[in-house]
Symmetry: C2
Subunit: 322 residues, 2 copies
């Protein structure tokens, strides 16, 4: 099958072996896959991953291995990327994303979505309602990571929320949090990116225009920079909550005393729930369309990756439909 493969470098091949599903897993024919910042980190060595990258996709179920889940065959689906053992304490509590033996689609121990076919447990799949374009459904995974903030933190409609960082995750987080009725401000460096959020009712402020006061009940740190936490603590109210989204290789000197004196809570936040994300996309509660920078066929995968690393880029999609 066709696939983007990362080993020593990133290559496009047409003879990659198809995935072999375990019992209870589905083979999904990929329609569209997204390029995520994590994929770019992987090409720099993050997680030591080798194989097919990609964990954002929409596709059609081709077949299911084993007796159960046959009703899914032929359905268009998106899929959660963490595959747990199903037996440990985390899996039993529905937290397969923290299963110590997990594989993660295109990130850890399992070939990913930048190929004609992928395999995932049927329990990970969620059907996409008719009428939602592939180019929007593919945002379910990154928007789910934004909804994870609401899964972890009670954001009250009367509160003031600041989202730091106008990258894809920052914009999606601001849009998801804005659905709560809270007063949401997105902080960034790029007027053009801020405008995407502003057009959907989010307050958006350039970093250089920010009034530096401790006014926010919740600060979501999505800067992608190791210095983000310290900056966030300077903007959150005493007893407030900082949600940490940034994962970087780099470490940073951090003064933790303000955290203790002001009794700030810091919540690490990663992958999130698919259902509310897909619901928000299909109802256009969050309009993801302005985040698409480009759609490239498989034969132009190189070009897609080159565009994805450019500074002004938002989401670049790989089209496997052709």
């Amino acid at each position: 099958m066709r696939a983007v493969v990362f080993d020593s470098g990133l290559r496009s091949v047409t003879n990659h072996p198809e995935p072999e599903p375990a019992a209870g897993e589905a083979i999904v024919r990929v329609l569209v896959a997204g390029i995520c910042k994590t994929d770019l980190e992987i090409t720099k060595g993050y997680m030591g991953f080798r194989g097919v990258p990609g964990h954002e996709f929409v596709g059609v179920v081709e077949r299911v291995e084993g007796a159960g889940g046959q009703a899914l065959v032929g359905r268009r689906v998106v899929g959660e990327i963490n595959c747990g053992c199903g037996r440990c304490g985390f899996c039993v509590r529905g937290l397969k994303g923290h299963c110590p033996g997990r594989t993660v689609l295109g990130i850890h121990g399992r070939d990913g979505a930048m190929a004609d076919y992928l395999s995932l447990p049927t329990g990970n799949l969620l059907e996409v309602p008719e009428g939602v374009p592939d180019e929007e459904a593919v945002f379910t995974e990154p928007l789910a990571a934004a909804f994870e903030v609401l899964e972890q933190v009670h954001v009250r409609p009367t509160e003031r929320v600041l989202v730091m960082g106008d990258g894809k995750l920052g914009i999606l987080a601001a849009l998801a949090l804005n659905l709560t009725g809270a007063s949401v401000t997105l902080l960034g460096k790029h007027e053009r990116k801020l405008a995407i959020a502003r057009a959907q009712g989010v307050g958006a402020v350039l970093l250089r225009d920010l009034k530096k006061s401790r006014d926010y009940d919740v600060v979501v740190e999505a800067t992608g920079s190791a210095g983000g936490l310290e900056a966030a603590v300077q903007l959150v109210k005493p007893r407030g909550t900082v949600v940490l989204k940034t994962t970087v290789e780099e470490s940073k000197v951090v003064d933790l005393t303000p955290l203790v004196v002001d009794e700030v809570t810091v919540v690490g936040s990663r992958c999130g729930p698919f259902a509310p994300a897909l619901k928000a996309i299909s109802e256009r509660g969050v309009d993801v369309r302005p985040l698409v920078t480009g759609v490239f066929g498989f034969d132009r995968a190189d070009e897609a990756f080159r565009l994805a690393v450019e500074k002004g880029s938002m989401k670049v999609l790989l089209d496997f439909r052709g």
Copy 2:
């Protein structure tokens, strides 16, 4: 009056002016004051404080300024150290410890307890039940800081808790958390200090004997070292909670990625509720007596401070009763 004063250095004087209470404040005649690690930090410049240090005390109310609170006169009391404006959002929510205009007894903007008299708002005072010795009642403030963990974090009786650090705060936190029924382990470097907690039913483990696995639902970081957070994150379960108690001048390089990937929550924690602490002391749910290293009269305050900085010391008390 007699007072320990910190300006350029630490001195004992006998002619320090008595505090002048504002309306609604009480003058308290100090019986016993405790020396806290924060007091030692203050003598190194922490908070830039100048004046009478000391925020752990038990005393007798001499008089109250204004009409209210006269019933307190003659009562033996302990007192919360944060004095708020009474009008801001934090004060209205009962969080005077976070009032931006607060003074803090012996730490910020208000002379402290190492003197014959101190002043505090009557609302900060809590009567000590008869029969509780002064040398135990004086532990209410530090034990309250331990109870703050339970005020902020739901510790379930079925959970495993690790307290890192066998200093006074670590031991008190382990003893307070042990009341919940949770399985509590105190981690430290000093067999003699660990034994104090072990004698009251806490599991206690020397650092060199610790099995390094991520087994704990809650980790309380009370090491007093800037590196404590990173060590704590390596011992807490994914989705678990780290309570940060350490305040140090020093900053530290921290790798925050494990926090995000494992969705750990970090809760900064400082001063706490007096009532449950005093209750635990008076009912001997927590027995603080083994933590007393020495009791010194005012004329031996120098000696008391010298002992307090020694490595093996626990709580050193200043006795103003003589």
